[in-house]
Symmetry: C2
Subunit: 604 residues, 2 copies
């Protein structure tokens, strides 16, 4: 029997102004990729595939690859990436785990010498992995050479028992990641052969001679990729949350909008649109920006692999800021979507709590939010100072040298024009970068040293990095719409999303545009009216816009977000199936409640 | 053996400028109350005590109280409050459960006639409660009289089995509230005696005559109390999160601020202060505002109980906005505190995930955020229009008639002055209220009916309610500091918190103050500099300010937030005690991993 579609959702789909399949093709890069995507089983990404294998590809010598790669690729050994310790995550140089070279035996002796040196967090390390890539401080003849990667077997391949000197276990329950055994690891004089240091770049010769890597910046390349991936990942998670909340908001009818009329779909409340549509737009924005970042990286990677790493610092700074921006906005947006589902959002039946708890680490792992924003800011300050000294900047920071900072008064603007909106975001970013630089300078002129001045200016510096990243997203979104392959029905609706994304960013940060008079109060009021008008235009296309993300029900895992909209009956079935309902009277009654009630009755 | 205090925390406490006990006394209303609080065991509030008992107190006749109150107070019957259904939460008038009076037997026949009529969410209803207060549509001789409360026994007092016609169970796993059996309930021709309708206000006579209540607004009184309670609750939950994150940020040392220097406490990063201190200030703000609301209500309640309910609409509107503002800000703040703890915040060892998942329903239950903001807005519009017609407004909206909306140009302001800050928030609120009213008018002049115009203006209306509520909080916080009993060391530090609270609200909403030129760009820049300076002054007092909240470790339930700061060793002990670590090799190895690894090896 084919399940009937909820009539409200059916109508939504009939009334859309475009065919969502066309946007799906655009989002996934063509019909062929969509087909492949739909045929593929989806596997959760483990640290084994996300970190362990890439590290082997990137850091092992050919000989080392011959030895381990095949075993790892076929899951005969299962590995994880063990960098973070109890005491150190952000500050990699501060890691305390040591690898001390013993030239007599040509081995490294591995130790976690203090309590805070225990490795902590690596995914799958607690109970599953039998290997790790261990990041440790290299010591040779008493001298420290910094952090290097080592292949370390931690459990027996025979019986999976921890090897001698290895203490390993699970770090305990967490917000999400319920099935992931993030682990701890401490090491007591564990010896590994010299050949277990991953030596593609740095090397230790048998006699203890240390050979430096050609460049320390090469590791940046992987980071750019990983972070561009997180931008996409954030866009996708936001897209999932918005899909659930938008579909449910068309099924949910609540309150009386007009006396005597039937209850409206809650998506007809403009406040509900204002909760969801900005995040719908943001999901598209990050999805497309993540893709663009990936392809910029791919384009420049042949250049990079040839040793020309001149683009890397810029890509690195850009991807850091975008990763921080997108993951934090996804955090806020996923929760807003949950709250937009009212009480039912709080149930695991909505899928939203699990989506959130599994996605929220993206703003901490692979670089903590503020730490990344400050990295981006450092690059912005450097670039800005170069431009002050007359250098011409290129790439994503080129605008820092060109912008006219004094706004012309009395202009009238069309706040719907994407060009004008990009200009406004560019102006804002350039101004805030300039002001952060000025503050930094003035703190130093006031007598602070470089470090204290940096710290004193750091709130403004993160603001600058944020403004820079937001400008890049708005610009990239607008540019992607100039793709000539886009069908006009599609580009019309995507243009509305892009306008909404920009205008919403503008009104929620309106002070930044008003502070120096670049925009006027009447521009802002105009922007707010445009937002209302855009939301009204987007309303009939909302379901088609989330359908276009093409998440099957099995991926969304949400009763509220079901494609067929049959929410209430499935909520009830799901509840009835809950373990607590196996018996009408739960065992806790016999154990606790009955004696309690009887004792109380006796007291009367 | 007395546990040694972490030396960093010890130093923090020695260096504070004041004795936290003095603030503790201020927060809890005197030394005596603090003493009582510390002696009390803390019981989690169940729906039985929070809703069931109060409804009996408030809605039952004396006769009914005689029958049930003692049983309920001594927990011989355990009850819950069953209002929400699958299909209706916000829109109480839309509830579908029916209570049809049968004059022949003098009984009510209870039914949940549709799938969406099933009661859904009541706390403790699934497995624990044997009674509920059931909210149902009253029908007499085919005519509907709206929603009324009924006492309904749902489970046998003998064997706890559901009574005939009653289907009841747990609604399944949720984001938080793990131990709470929120339940569903459907009813099929369940009969209860006429005397089970709670008849303090409305009555049904044996012959089916309906007697109306003297006023329908009396129920507002309880709502004001409940919502003022949530303002306090939000302040307290934020206070807990800030306590954990602040203590941990003094124990956590990370990164290199100055080359060659030891790693600083992360609270020395100005960005970390900027994450935490605004929420520290907000926690104080909501704590104090909640108290003030409570005492305003208590003061006017004798008047109310005498039948003079003239203050109720205003208190109702105010408490709705404050509940919405405080609970949403607590949501955001608790998560910011978690993220400020880096990776460890994500572990249940931090206590922060559970704190969040248990506290976040406060912004949905007892009135959904946007729905409440729109209720406040409705009162603001009514008041504003009255003032346009020359009426003098009183209470929290008095300012709407007095404000000079045209800002004087060229003023210089001391942005630290609490009077000037209150003025700025008042001006902003009045302006936004006025503009929302103007928009509403212009939508209607443009041809929309009242309801459509309201909906079209609703984003601006919620903004008005928000601005009104924020002004009230800033003003209340400032007023509480004029308490003459406050020691000068205390009022100095609390004044800084109040300034920070106001200034942070101002810079994060700077557009609202700039839009009409009330403040200038240079005022905003001045505000930002003051924030930095205030944070530097608050830094040495941060630990004492969270100690003053006086949460014992047993309540915080957080290894990161331990009073003694001994974080790392307890993290490790906690992890080792995790169930997954009972055996070195987990059972899943034998079940899944071993066959998987062996099969892979065979393939090589
Ligand atoms: C779910 C999950 C999975 C993980 N998986 C792995 C894994 O597989 N392998 C692995 O090795 N690790 C893993 N990690 C660890 C993760 O990489 C770290 O938690 C992350 O890098 C953040 O570092 P931290 O915990 O030290 O945060 P901290 O640096 O302690 O951050 C705490 C606070 O200090 C502030 N701060 C720190 N330094 C500075 C600075 N220089 N300037 C300003 N502020 C600063 C931060 O902004 C933050 O607010 C995982 C973590 C999680 C939560
Ligand atoms: C943990 C928890 C415990 C609970 N405990 C109880 C209990 O003990 N007893 C009980 O009876 N109930 C309980 N509830 C239910 C709770 O009271 C409702 O969930 C709450 O009132 C919100 O209503 P809703 O779920 O219908 O949200 P909805 O009204 O469906 O909200 C969905 C969306 O629609 C929007 N919306 C709805 N109406 C309007 C409008 N008029 N204008 C603009 N937007 C609108 C909202 O803003 C929201 O974004 C509990 C809920 C939770 C999560
Ligand atoms: Ca959460």
């Amino acid at each position: 029997m084919v399940a009937k579609m909820n009539p409200d959702l059916k109508k939504e789909r009939e009334n859309a102004s475009f065919d969502p399949e066309k946007i799906t093709n655009f989002l996934y890069g063509g019909q062929e990729s969509v087909k492949r995507k739909r045929e593929l089983d989806v596997h959760p990404m483990s640290v084994h595939t996300r970190m362990f294998l890439p590290t082997l590809y990137g850091q092992a010598t050919e000989q080392q690859k011959d030895k381990w790669l095949k075993l790892a690729e076929n899951y005969t050994i299962i590995g994880t990436y063990a960098q973070t310790e109890i005491g150190h995550g952000t500050f990699v140089r501060g890691l305390e785990t040591t690898a001390t070279y013993d030239p007599k035996t040509q081995e490294f002796i591995l130790n976690t010498p203090t309590l805070s040196a225990s490795k902590w967090w690596p995914g799958g390390m607690g109970k599953t992995s039998n290997y790790v890539v261990l990041m440790a401080q290299l010591y040779i003849y008493g001298k420290s050479y910094g952090i290097h990667p080592f292949m370390l077997q931690i459990r027996s391949l025979e019986d999976h028992k921890p090897l001698p000197g290895v203490t390993v276990g699970d770090i305990g329950p967490k917000f999400g990641y319920d099935v992931m055994d993030n682990g701890f690891l401490s090491l007591n004089n564990v010896r590994i052969p010299r050949e277990n240091m991953l030596m593609k770049y740095s090397r230790v010769e048998p006699d203890g001679t240390y050979v430096r890597p050609p460049s320390t910046k090469l590791a940046y390349g992987t980071m750019v990729q990983v972070r561009a991936g997180i931008v996409m990942f954030s866009g996708m998670n936001l897209a999932k949350a918005v899909t659930i909340a938008t579909r449910y908001s068309c099924v949910r009818r609540q309150s009386e909008m007009k006396p005597g009329h039937p209850e409206p779909q809650v998506l007809d409340y403009v406040t509900q649109q204002y909760k969801l549509f900005p995040y719908l737009a943001a999901a598209y924005a990050f999805w497309l920006t993540g893709q663009t970042m990936m392809s910029v990286y791919t384009t420049s990677s042949s250049q990079i692999s040839k040793g020309d790493i001149s683009v890397l610092p810029e890509l690195h700074a850009l991807s850091a800021g975008l990763k921080a921006l997108s993951s934090s906005m996804a955090n806020v947006g996923m929760e807003e979507c949950r709250l937009a589902c009212g009480g039912h959002g709080y149930s695991h039946a909505s899928g939203l709590p699990r989506l959130y708890t599994n996605a929220t680490p993206a703003s901490t792992a692979e670089g903590e939010h503020v730490v990344l924003m400050l990295q981006t800011a450092r690059y912005l300050m450097k670039s800005y100072n170069q431009s002050l000294q007359g250098e011409k900047l290129a790439g994503s920071v080129a605008y820092l040298s060109g912008v006219q900072l004094v706004p012309a008064a009395g202009r009238t603007r069309n706040m719907l024009d994407l060009g004008a909106l990009c200009d406004a975001f560019r102006h804002r970013a350039a101004r805030i970068v300039g002001e952060a630089a000025a503050q930094l300078r003035s703190e130093m002129q006031g007598g602070k040293d470089q470090a204290d001045a940096w710290n004193a200016s750091s709130v403004d510096l993160t603001k600058a990095a944020m403004a820079h990243s937001q400008y890049f997203v708005v610009k990239t979104f607008a540019e992607r719409l100039t793709d000539s392959r886009l069908d006009s029905s599609i580009s019309a609706v995507l243009t509305r999303l892009c306008q909404l994304h920009a205008l919403h960013g503008l009104v929620t940060n309106s002070g930044d545009f008003l502070e120096d008079g670049y925009l006027t109060g009447s521009d802002i009021r105009q922007a707010r009216r445009h937002i209302n008008a855009l939301m009204a235009k987007l309303r009939p296309d909302a379901v088609a816009l989330v359908d276009a993300f093409d998440f099957p029900d099995g991926i969304l895992n949400s009763i509220l977000g079901r494609y067929d909209g049959n929410v209430y009956q499935h909520l009830l079935e799901w509840a009835k199936a809950s373990p607590l309902n196996k018996t009408d009277v739960h065992q806790s009654y016999h154990k606790y409640l009955k004696p309690f009630l009887e004792a109380n009755r006796a007291k009367l």
